[in-house]
């Protein structure tokens, strides 16, 4: 009896996270990168000209996005070693389950990076976040789902190319623009204490992007891995 879609997804995600926990390659480099970016933003800011609240949303989203990209490439590179991807494709499991598993693994990875980065962000920029934490986590979740899903699909596409680590950011960038702009605008509004009605449009954009691209990516994955 073969696995169901979610059974497959959890098996793949658990395997990926177990391997990442043992090697800590992507995790360590993402965390170091996050600390470095936050530090650079902090020390490059002229506090007499730019307030913390002005730069904070950009700083946190640059950190999240590029730290996540370090991990996204690894998702399918892992399957290229010993052509383990063939083993997955030979299994009697729905291929969408493999893709969902990869997304879940990447989401868990990025979520950890974001959860570690948030307190550092609050510390560096002296921005209290506890009172708006649920809203911040909500917008982080919506934007992260968007770029992790698209990034996971694109990493499956580029992993067999010669310049995979270069290709992924180049291909991902156009898709990142809408959700990241939306996330930055919403984050700025939340941190400034503005009413949600002011950025409801961005929330709808983010929601629509999630629905449209998650659906499209789920439909496209099978064609991506076929030879």
């Amino acid at each position: 009896m073969s696995s169901s879609l979610w059974g497959t997804a959890f098996a793949v995600a658990a395997k990926d996270l177990k391997i990442e926990w043992r090697t800590k390659t992507a995790f360590a480099s993402s965390l170091v990168f996050a600390v470095l970016v936050l530090a650079i933003f902090y020390f490059s800011r002229d506090s007499t000209v730019v307030s913390e609240l002005d730069i904070a949303p950009a700083a946190i989203w640059v950190t999240f996005t590029f730290a996540a990209m370090l991990g996204l490439n690894r998702a399918f590179l892992l399957e290229q070693e010993n052509r383990a991807i063939d083993g997955l494709l030979l299994s009697p499991v729905p291929r969408t389950g493999i893709f969902v598993g990869k997304i879940l693994g990447n989401l868990a990875f990025v979520a950890v990076v974001e959860l570690v980065s948030l307190p550092l962000f609050s510390l560096f920029f002296n921005v209290p976040i506890l009172h708006v934490l649920p809203s911040l986590l909500g917008v982080a979740a919506m934007a992260t789902i968007a770029f992790v899903t698209v990034g996971t699909l694109l990493s499956a596409m580029v992993v067999r190319t010669r310049f995979a680590e270069l290709m992924l950011p180049i291909l991902l960038l156009p898709f990142l623009v809408p959700p990241i702009i939306g996330a930055v605008q919403i984050t700025a509004g939340i941190l400034a204490g503005r009413p949600m009605s002011e950025f409801a449009g961005w929330l709808k954009l983010l929601g629509a992007f999630d629905i449209a691209f998650v659906t499209a990516c789920l439909l496209l994955f099978e064609a991506t891995v076929e030879e």
């Binding site: 395997k15 090697t23 052509r83 383990a84 063939d86 009697p92």
Partner: protein, 226 residues
């Protein structure tokens, strides 16, 4: 499929990479009890054909029909270096719906890796990796085995294990398609030999007691006519 139907049916399969035709109009069937040995020079298309039979490549022309339960061993192990042998089999076991820990242990014993089951695959020798790859292929208790150079890196004891598997598949009315350059080790267990020359399956003939030397001479004869 019922046992009267072939476990593998290949009809006019061709495959190109760009403009280069690698497999050309290959057709054959394999039924229960068959052990088909595919031989050919390097670059004859054996690996590509195995990948086509497994469904890892799609044919540009023709069709491949195979039973639902099959196992594959290719040049690559399809294993995760950072996991142990047991963890690799547990992972694939979850995908195949094989959760019985005792059965996984039996499989590891069968391929001679039970004592090393908790070591990470990256610490394994080439031969040990190949044994584990075989275990992975046997995990679904397949009716059909597709083996691409399964004897590579194996010592005498492991080669003996592969021979046992081939023999068992014959007696249990299952089927094997394998490629190998080590004819002497397996020709006596094969029922048929397929001769591949430049992407074409030039002939499939029963082994009928031929030894490795006779099969090689026949291959050279066929290759010279192409």
């Amino acid at each position: 499929m019922t046992r009267s139907e072939p476990l593998l049916a290949v009809a006019d399969v061709s495959r190109r990479f760009g403009y280069r035709k690698v497999i050309e109009q290959v057709s054959f069937e394999v039924g229960g009890g068959d052990v088909l040995l595919l031989i050919g020079h390097n670059g004859a298309g054996k690996t590509t054909l195995i990948r086509l039979l497994a469904g890892l490549l799609s044919p540009n022309e023709g069709t491949v029909s195979r039973c639902d339960s099959f196992g594959v061993v290719t040049h690559d192990s399809m294993l995760y270096d950072s996991l142990s042998a047991r963890e690799n089999l547990q992972f694939y076991g979850r995908l195949y719906g094989r959760h019985d820990a005792d059965k996984l242990d039996d499989l590891l014993r069968r391929v001679g890796l039970h004592e090393h089951a908790d070591r990470h695959v990256i610490t394994y020798s080439r031969g040990m990796v190949q044994r584990l790859a075989l275990a992975r292929a046997l995990l679904p208790d397949p009716d059909l085995l597709l083996l691409d150079e399964p004897l590579t890196g194996l010592d005498d004891s492991a080669s003996g294990m592969v021979r046992e598997i081939l023999s068992e598949f014959r007696t249990r009315n299952r089927a094997v398609v394998l490629t190998t350059h080590q004819l002497a080790d397996v020709v006596d267990l094969a029922t048929d030999v397929g001769y591949m020359v430049a992407g074409k399956l030039t002939a499939i003939e029963p082994v009928e007691g031929r030894d490795a030397r006779a099969v090689t001479m026949r291959y050279r004869e066929l290759a010279s006519n192409v």
